[in-house]
Amino acid sequence: MGKYILHRLIIAVPILIGISILTFFLIRLVPGDTVTAILGTNYDPKLAHKLRSEMGLDQPVILQYLIWIGHVFMGDLGTSSFTGQPVLSALMERLPITLELALLSLIVALIIAIPLGVLAAYKHGTGADYASGTFGMFGISVPNFWLGTLLILIFSLHLHLLPSGGYQPLSAGIGENLRSLLMPVIALGTAVAAVTMRSTRSAMLDVLNEDYIKMAKAKGASTARIIWKHGLRNALVPVMTVVGIQIGYLLGGSVIIEQVFALPGMGRLALQAISNRDYSLLQGTILFVAVTFIMINLMIDVIYGLINPRIRYK
């Protein structure tokens, strides 16, 4: 397995280089550049020219890229051209927030969705099944920003129960911290829960018809044991694949949710970087998110292998 992980990490390098090239050139296709953003209404062609040559923006783009990626390989992500802060330290400030949001959303979604999916399969065709099916439809079709806005309307503006936005770090106490993330987690996690629930239900329906389930019953296993041990463990195999795909959604969705709830995470950082044409910050952020994405997927693959003994790492 160690070999497999190493192999996956090596494959990740060209993928990351590809992503870095795309980001690098795409952001430069957006009209305006760092200098126009910095100068804003005080734009002066002479000053602009001076700034551009200081930042190296007058060099050929390919050369700019090679210089930047060279630095990245040495562990230097550069500094924000807008604030002057080192990109890495900006990322390190924001990363925990996004990670907490995404992981909490994932965990809460799984804790709710998997038992619901199992129950829906076990009681398929009954009211409980239809109720969870309706929730599934709702969760999949409702956009997360709309759900987030609705939650703010109800719980902040009307009921005054929860803060409408902003992030409370763990240092403010775990209660405050969770309170600030409750609505974002619901807004972001609902779709994940819905998709996971549906796939758990269908996987479980298939599994419950398998001969080994009948065999477990013939062995004298109780219904609970048949479902939660013999059934679920098998159903989790396809469910894990679906969960892996959801990770991408979670990271992408957090960009929007951070915006809705004014959470200073990576997504918000990336949006700021785009509107400021803060090239090095944006490049660093995207690269970082890509690395995170690849690492989480690798983790999912490893878990997948633990659940499914038929997988052999080659």
């Binding site: 001969d211 080994y212 009948k214 065999m215 013939a218 004298g220 296993a221 109780s222 659940i307 038929r310």
Partner: protein, 328 residues
């Protein structure tokens, strides 16, 4: 009551109901099984053999569309009256079940040892270590070589014959007094079939468990069974000790079955029974076999022949055999 009597099934009925019709898969089945005896239940595919095993294990009868009636006394207690909770303590413990398809009967995500150890864990509240030791012993007993490392493997690492051995080990892990095997060798190739049958006979000799062996293969019956019940369209039509049945078949259906079995070294052409079994949902009156029976006569259309005693331990449900008896 006979001390040797292990299973006494009386008038067992198992029907599947749907909106349009009722399939009488098992209809008024009665038979007995003694300790240490191997009873073969034979019949064409679809005649209700598997349904009989499922009814005895009470794997059917809990759904709205499944109807179960009759009695099945096992060690003196009626299985049909038991609740599902009570059945959980009997299945796998007092009654071992060997499934038809070993390829799909093992759970792919647990080790073979784990699945066997689960039986003593559930039924004897054995500790993990104790249960594992039992699993190893069972694997050894069913002839799996290198059983200590095999126990840690998964079903996809086992061959077909080994899987069936593992299933047998699982069925025997609770030390049952009754073993129900539903076509345990059908999915295997011929040499493996013979090995598995030998193993079952050997285990019967060791444990003195009663065995209900379901098969559609008369060759299997001849090889291992003590007694045979021939099933047709949900009913038993003939019942006799193996030698008696093979040498003096009484029921026309049994005769037909025997005529369609290839004999080693024989060049005689096989004569398959013509026609098909009746639909189990729109049965007309009279003998169920009348459409296919070369000897059918008036009475066969009007009244259904009951299972009639024609000799000590030999029963047949045919008007001809009962008439012959009456004419003596």
């Amino acid at each position: 009551m006979n001390d040797d009597l292990l299973l006494d099934v009386r008038h067992l009925k198992a029907y599947f109901r749907s909106k349009q019709r009722t399939v009488k898969a098992v209809d008024d089945l009665s038979f007995t099984l003694k300790k240490g005896e191997i009873l073969g239940l034979v019949g064409e595919s679809g005649c209700g053999k598997s349904t009989t095993t499922k009814a005895l294990l009470r794997l059917i009868g809990n759904q709205k569309n499944e109807y179960l009636e009759g009695e099945a006394f096992f060690e003196g207690e009626d299985l049909i009256k038991k609740s599902d909770k009570q059945m959980q303590t009997i299945r796998g413990n007092k009654i071992g079940f060997i499934a038809q398809n070993p390829m799909s009967s093992l759970n792919p995500v647990f080790t073979i040892g784990n699945q066997i150890a689960e039986v003593p864990q559930m039924h004897q509240r054995a500790s993990k270590n104790k249960a594992w030791a039992i699993a190893l012993k069972m694997l050894q007993k069913v002839g799996i070589s290198d059983h200590e490392s095999r126990a840690k493997q998964f079903s996809h690492q086992f061959s077909g014959g080994m899987k069936q051995r593992a299933v047998i080990a699982m069925a025997l892990a609770g030390n049952p007094s009754l073993l129900i095997a539903d076509e345990p060798t059908t999915a295997l190739d011929v040499t493996i079939q013979a090995q598995i049958l030998d193993l079952m006979v050997k285990l019967r000799d060791e444990t003195h468990a009663g065995v209900l062996l379901i098969t559609h293969d008369l060759g299997v019956v001849a090889e291992v069974c003590d007694r045979v019940a021939v099933m047709y369209a949900g009913k038993i039509v003939e019942q006799a000790p193996v030698d008696e049945l093979f040498h003096h078949p009484q029921h026309p259906y049994t005769k037909g079955l025997l005529a369609s079995v290839p004999k080693i070294g024989s060049r005689k052409k096989l004569i398959p029974i013509s026609g098909h079994p009746p639909n189990l949902y729109e049965m007309q009156g009279g003998c169920l076999f009348q459409e296919r029976c070369p000897f059918a006569f008036d009475r066969c259309k009007k009244t259904e022949p009951p299972l009639h005693k024609i000799a000590e331990h030999h029963h047949s449900a045919c008007h001809l055999s009962s008439e012959r008896m009456n004419s003596f």
